[in-house]
C-alpha cells in the first residue's frame, strides 16, 4: 500500500505524506522502535529504518531485548554506530514521540494505524483502493463529511441543540 501511495501520489507532487509516532503502551518495543527511527532520522536514514523496522518485525517484536537488534539494524544501514547508540540509549527523542502521541490523541486517534487525509479520518489498515478513493475525493475538493443527526430520532439522547454530538455506529452482536 505505502509504496503505491508514494509512487502514485507523493512522487507526482499530489500529496505530502507525514508519519507520526503512536506507540501503543501494550506493544512492548514500539516506543523504542520509534526512537530508533528518529535516531536514524538525524543521520538522514529515517525511511530506511522505517522500512527495516517493519520488514524485521518478526525478528524483534517477540524479543526479550530488542535494543541490540535496533542497533544491529543501524549498523546494516551504515549509520554512525556510536552516535546512534548514544541517541537510543539516551532516550533522545522520547519527548518528541510523546508529543506525537498527544497530537494524535487530540485528532481522535486511539489505535493504530490511523490516517487523516486532509482531515478525513481512516481508522485501521486500509487497502490502496480506499486510499485512492479518499485522496481523489480530496483532490476534487471534497471535504470531511459532517454528520446530520435527526433531532426527533428515537435513537438519540439529550438536547437537540447540545454543542457536542457523539454518534455511534455499531451492531448488536
Amino acid at each position: 500500500m505505502y509504496p503505491q501511495i508514494v509512487k502514485d501520489y507523493v512522487d507526482t507532487g499530489k500529496i505530502r505524506y507525514v508519519f507520526r509516532n503512536f506507540p501503543l503502551s501494550f506493544h512492548q518495543w514500539a516506543q523504542k522502535a520509534a526512537e530508533a527511527a528518529e535516531c536514524a532520522g538525524e543521520q538522514g536514514k529515517y525511511w530506511a529504518m522505517h522500512e527495516a523496522l517493519f520488514n524485521g518485525q518478526d525478528e524483534w517484536t517477540g524479543s526479550a531485548d530488542a535494543v541490540p537488534i535496533f542497533k544491529g539494524m543501524a549498523g546494516t544501514l551504515k549509520l554512525d554506530q556510536a552516535q546512534f547508540d548514544s541517541c537510543l540509549d539516551g532516550d533522545k527523542y522520547a519527548e518528541k514521540i510523546q508529543a506525537d502521541m498527544q497530537e494524535g490523541s487530540k485528532a481522535g486517534v486511539s489505535g493504530t494505524p490511523a490516517f487523516s487525509v486532509n482531515g478525513i479520518s481512516l481508522s485501521g489498515a486500509q487497502s490502496f483502493d480506499t486510499f485512492k478513493e479518499t485522496i481523489e475525493y480530496a483532490l476534487a475538493g471534497g471535504e470531511a463529511p459532517s454528520l446530520a443527526v435527526a433531532a426527533d430520532s428515537y435513537r438519540s439522547l439529550g438536547e437537540a441543540d447540545a454543542p457536542v454530538v457523539i454518534t455511534e455506529f455499531s451492531d448488536f452482536q
Binding site: 501520489y9 512522487d11 505524506y17 508519519f19 507520526r20 522502535a33 520509534a34 517493519f54 486517534v109 480530496a138
Partner: protein
C-alpha cells in the same frame, strides 16, 4: 559727613561693578584629564529617500528541518498523516 557719603557712594559703585562683571569660574587644574562618557556622534545625515512601505511576500510553508518523517512537496494540496507504531 562728607567722608560717610564718599564711602557710601564707593560701596554702591563697587556693588554695581560686581553685579555687571564676568562670572567667577572655578579653575580646572591643567593637568587633570577629562574623559567624555558619551560616544562620539557622527554627523547627522539626512535621508536621501523617503522610506516606502513594502508588502512582504506570504510566508512559505515552513518545513521543520528536523522533521525527517515527511515525504513529498510542502506545497501539495493534500496531506496524508499516518499515526502508527512499528509493532
Amino acid at each position: 559727613m562728607n567722608l560717610k557719603r564718599i564711602w557710601l557712594i564707593a560701596l554702591v559703585v563697587l556693588a554695581l561693578v560686581a553685579a555687571c562683571g564676568p562670572a567667577i569660574t572655578t579653575p580646572v587644574p591643567s593637568g587633570q584629564a577629562t574623559v567624555s562618557t558619551q560616544a562620539p556622534t557622527e554627523a547627522a545625515t539626512l535621508p536621501t529617500k523617503t522610506p516606502v512601505a513594502t508588502k512582504s511576500p506570504a510566508p512559505a510553508p515552513t518545513q521543520d528541518p528536523n522533521d525527517w518523517r515527511t515525504l513529498g512537496s510542502a506545497d501539495a494540496k493534500i496531506t496524508l498523516i499516518e499515526y502508527s507504531d512499528f509493532q
